[in-house]
Subunit: 269 residues, 2 copies
């Protein structure tokens, strides 16, 4: 069960930090550049250097798929589950399809990769996420993104509130009736995160965009944490993964993760 | 270039039929059930039996991913491109992510699989599709789906028109300024297809849901074809793939495809 796993991760780590695993072939550290099994070895080194500092790892499947590295992603997820069972695995896939196709995406996320939760696009509505929840896995509904085109649809006024607030409401009121859900809300606009938190007081929220993408982590935590200080996975990828590019890349990543964990600690922790 | 390829496919085939390649392990025909390389061999047999009857093949990546069959999908796309160069390949992936992640999905679709076009979820807005278009590939924006939850967001009133019409407008007016685009509109409601066609008079529209999902193909063609009778890829999957389950499965698929092609011929062809 996703929620139970994630509560355990927050307790065990005392951290809201999530590290995004986006192995970019153009940015491999020098010792692994061109090496055999570089994608897996790079991610494993980052995981080993930072697992005690995070509540979650979030592999981004696109980076594996573009490099024919699905087998590395399988091994990586197995490694994290066996070695660091208290850390939650969120597969960032943003899938979205209907009926039998969604069932196959659910098998991909939960049976093949063994993720605890998967990010899903909300555009197809409630029945499109039931196959994931029937597998017993968690679903994080994509709610608000902070890219320049995020407003194109998400900010449209739908009966007095923007579409992304409607999405938060749908996930909180309807999806959650069927299983363990959460939301994805970019870090750039803390006011919007606070609005989503009002609509969904208890749901876990994945907050990407801290670090390289420029969101202020402290403001995000203040706006989005639950009353108990938890409730968020604040995600950073490149600023940690590529903090160093030489032999010390894992140590540099650990140092960056230490800073990032501190920057995302709620007041009073 | 996607549009040019698809126009060639329509001319060469005189067909609006698209066959969805969804290799379901639970429905493998008896001769291939449990066989070595069954997923590829099944799809190849369907392709060989029907390629002269279709404008496009639409592999659904979820079915390959759930079975660890990405290598079969690579070989299948290569096979279609080499053996049937006049047939368009649409990778049905419904991806949607931003910036560098979208760039990796674009590499997956166009460089790894060699698709001519990919289906993309519109929720992240215009900048999220630029990486696909910069690769020179086509983008089919998911506009309207006919599942029960399709209305949850798509039918919301956004300033006087439903969200899916806004999506059609965004794809037609903004995405298309950057490359070859199209739309995905379910076959179930011909009136809605006609509305989308008004908003996007020239864009190719992929129309899934004919056959097993119950859409009326003739009504869909009437509502959605361009003035010249072309403009649609009307897609059927299971009703063709699983028309037979014995040794004659490919022949049964061909017969079903012959009927489906006739059922989707525009008046006067």
């Amino acid at each position: 069960m996703f929620h139970e796993q994630l509560e355990r991760s927050w307790r065990a780590s005392n951290s809201l930090l999530c590290i995004g695993l986006d192995p970019d072939p153009a940015r491999m550290p020098q010792p692994l550049d061109g090496a055999h099994d570089a994608v897996f070895q790079f991610c494993k080194a980052i995981v080993d250097a930072t697992a005690d500092l995070v509540c979650a790892f979030k592999p981004q499947i696109a980076y594996f798929a573009s490099q024919r590295e699905e087998p590395a992603l399988e091994r990586l997820c197995t490694y994290v589950r066996e070695r660091y069972p208290d850390v939650t695995i969120v597969l960032d896939a943003k899938r979205g399809d209907i009926g039998s196709t969604a069932e196959h995406y659910a098998r991909e996320a939960f049976r093949r990769y063994g993720a605890h939760a998967v990010t899903v696009n909300p555009y197809l509505g409630t029945d499109a996420v039931l196959p994931y929840l029937e597998h017993g896995g968690g679903v994080l509904g994509l709610c608000r993104t902070s890219n320049p085109g995020g407003d194109d649809l998400q900010a449209l006024d739908c009966g007095g509130e923007p579409l992304y607030v409607r999405v938060a409401r749908m996930v909180n009121d309807r999806w959650s009736a069927h299983g363990d859900c959460g939301l994805v809300v970019g870090a750039t606009y803390p006011d919007e995160l606070a609005t989503v938190r009002e609509v969904a007081p208890d749901l876990p929220i994945l907050v990407p965009g801290f670090g390289h993408q420029g969101g202020d982590p402290h403001a995000a935590v203040k706006a989005g944490a639950r009353a108990d200080g938890r409730g968020l996975m604040v995600s950073s990828s490149r600023a940690i993964l590529y903090a160093g590019s030489g032999d010390d890349f894992a140590e540099a990543a650990r140092n960056a993760a230490i800073d990032a964990r501190l920057a995302t600690l709620p007041d009073g922790w």
